[in-house]
Amino acid sequence: MSTWLKLVLRLERAIGAPIESAVHSDAYFDVVAELNRGTRRVTGAVESVSKRGLHLLNLPAGTDIRQVREQLARMDRRLLQISKKLEQLEGERV
């Protein structure tokens, strides 16, 4: 192993170890959770404004599309459950 690589590896550990203990700490996860919530709040506020604008023009917003996708996914899952139930009933009959 060359000298420069040994140096890099040693440096990485010297910096990496404290970073690891920081990102594994309780405080880090509290900050991440809070940041995520903050981002969601901001995104939600922006989406609500843009949604109103788009609805004024009779256009669907991203949230509408998302809702439709979720409803479709729920319906797909329900259909899948029913087809599996049918398959099971047919299996029991045979």
Partner: protein
């Protein structure tokens, strides 16, 4: 002390450096361009059964398997199965196939909106029994060896003990967590309620792959620097670069976690640490982990940071009948079961040896010769 190099040695050294510089430049360009990537999961195989997105693969072999009991590998729900078949010459599947096992692999596929309701029961009571039946149909063999990797190990424990007709002769648990109090900081944050599982689930109803990748990345965020530096040092070495590219691709290639199963994992495994009770309520019944008659091997990796040894160790006291419990501590980390120097020097030879000792051999006519259990 002055260095004494003969002119011939000096010339050879200069030649080597020039050649390596050329190779570094060539491989560096290829790496940056993203070309010349290795083909992953390339061992020839056939899809022998499928349901929804789940597929059962049987790896092709030129001659009949030496061992009568087929080997079914059950992979984790949160990572791609090709870690166990990374690339030719560096593939656990290829290694085990070449050591005489008839290898099958259960690939869970990539969950989407349609799979958001998949719970532990879906995997344990719907997919696994059908996949095992398909293995038995394909091979005509009554019993099999089931090898579960990571979370796939937990599913294997639940299946083997939760079904009277499980037909699992040997249960190999590779880096399988049972004590979730010993798992990493992200799991601790989920347990203590600092991370809300509902906030991790997106509009598809699943935990996105990015979230899982971040969780693994945060275990050691700066190691990427050391990895890149090591790559730079070995850029002249084609084999090293191929291996690096393959691993880098697998590491980034996480799959979403089905929402319903994730909620159960958080509630049962993480918050209640219920696996440590030695039984679990799944699909309307209590599954006792000592119910199966299978011989159990708990294979742990000494330097595993994803599933630390302490999280896997209690298997020895919880799973299988006491007289049929075995343990193997292997060098290397979490991926030592699939790739790396240690995999082919220690891990896979040890696993193959154990499985061979607990399987029946076939004679020259292909008849089963009953061996030791």
């Amino acid at each position: 002390m002055a260095l004494q190099l003969s002119p011939a040695d000096l010339l050879a050294s200069v030649n080597r450096d020039v050649e390596r510089s050329y190779l570094r430049a060539r491989n560096g360009l290829r790496y940056v361009r993203g070309s010349n990537r290795p083909t992953l999961g390339a061992t020839p195989k056939d899809v022998v059964w499928r349901r929804d997105k789940v597929q059962l693969w049987r790896y092709r072999r030129d001659e009949p398997a030496r061992f009568a009991q087929p080997l079914l590998i059950v992979t984790s729900l949160v990572s791609r199965s090709y870690i166990l078949d990374l690339m030719p010459g560096s593939s656990a599947v290829e290694f085990l196939r070449d050591h005489g096992f008839d290898v099958f692999m259960l690939d869970w596929g990539i969950p989407d909106e349609l799979d958001a309701d998949n719970s532990l029961e879906t995997y344990v009571d719907e997919y696994l029994p059908r996949a095992v039946a398909a293995v038995r149909r394909q091979t005509g063999c009554a019993e099999l060896t089931m090898a579960g990797y990571c979370l796939g190990g937990v599913l294997s424990v639940l299946y083997a003990n939760g079904h009277d007709d499980a037909a699992v002769r040997n249960l190999v648990l590779m880096a399988t967590p049972v004590d979730f109090e010993q798992m990493g900081p992200m799991v601790a944050a989920l347990r203590e309620g600092r991370l809300d599982p509902e906030e991790m689930i997106d509009e598809t109803g699943n935990v996105p792959a990015d979230v899982l990748y971040s969780g693994f990345f945060m275990l050691a965020p700066t190691t990427i620097v050391a990895q890149r530096a090591t790559l730079l040092e070995n850029l002249w070495n084609d084999e090293f670069v191929r291996g690096f590219q393959a691993m880098a691709q697998w590491t980034r290639d996480q799959v979403p976690f089905a929402g319903a199963a994730f909620r159960e994992v958080v509630e049962l495994f993480v918050r209640r640490n219920a696996l440590m009770d030695g039984s679990l309520h799944v699909g309307g019944r209590e599954i006792d982990f000592t119910r199966s008659g299978a011989t159990v091997l708990n294979a742990m990796a000494a330097k595993d940071t994803v599933v630390p040894r302490a999280a896997a160790e209690p298997i020895a006291a919880l799973v299988g009948r006491p007289e049929r419990r075995h343990e193997l501590l292997l060098p290397g980390g979490h991926v030592t079961f699939g790739t790396g120097r240690s995999a082919f020097r220690h891990t896979l030879p040890s696993l193959a040896e154990w499985m061979a000792a607990h399987s029946d051999e076939r004679d020259a006519d292909g008849h089963q010769v009953v061996g030791a259990r």
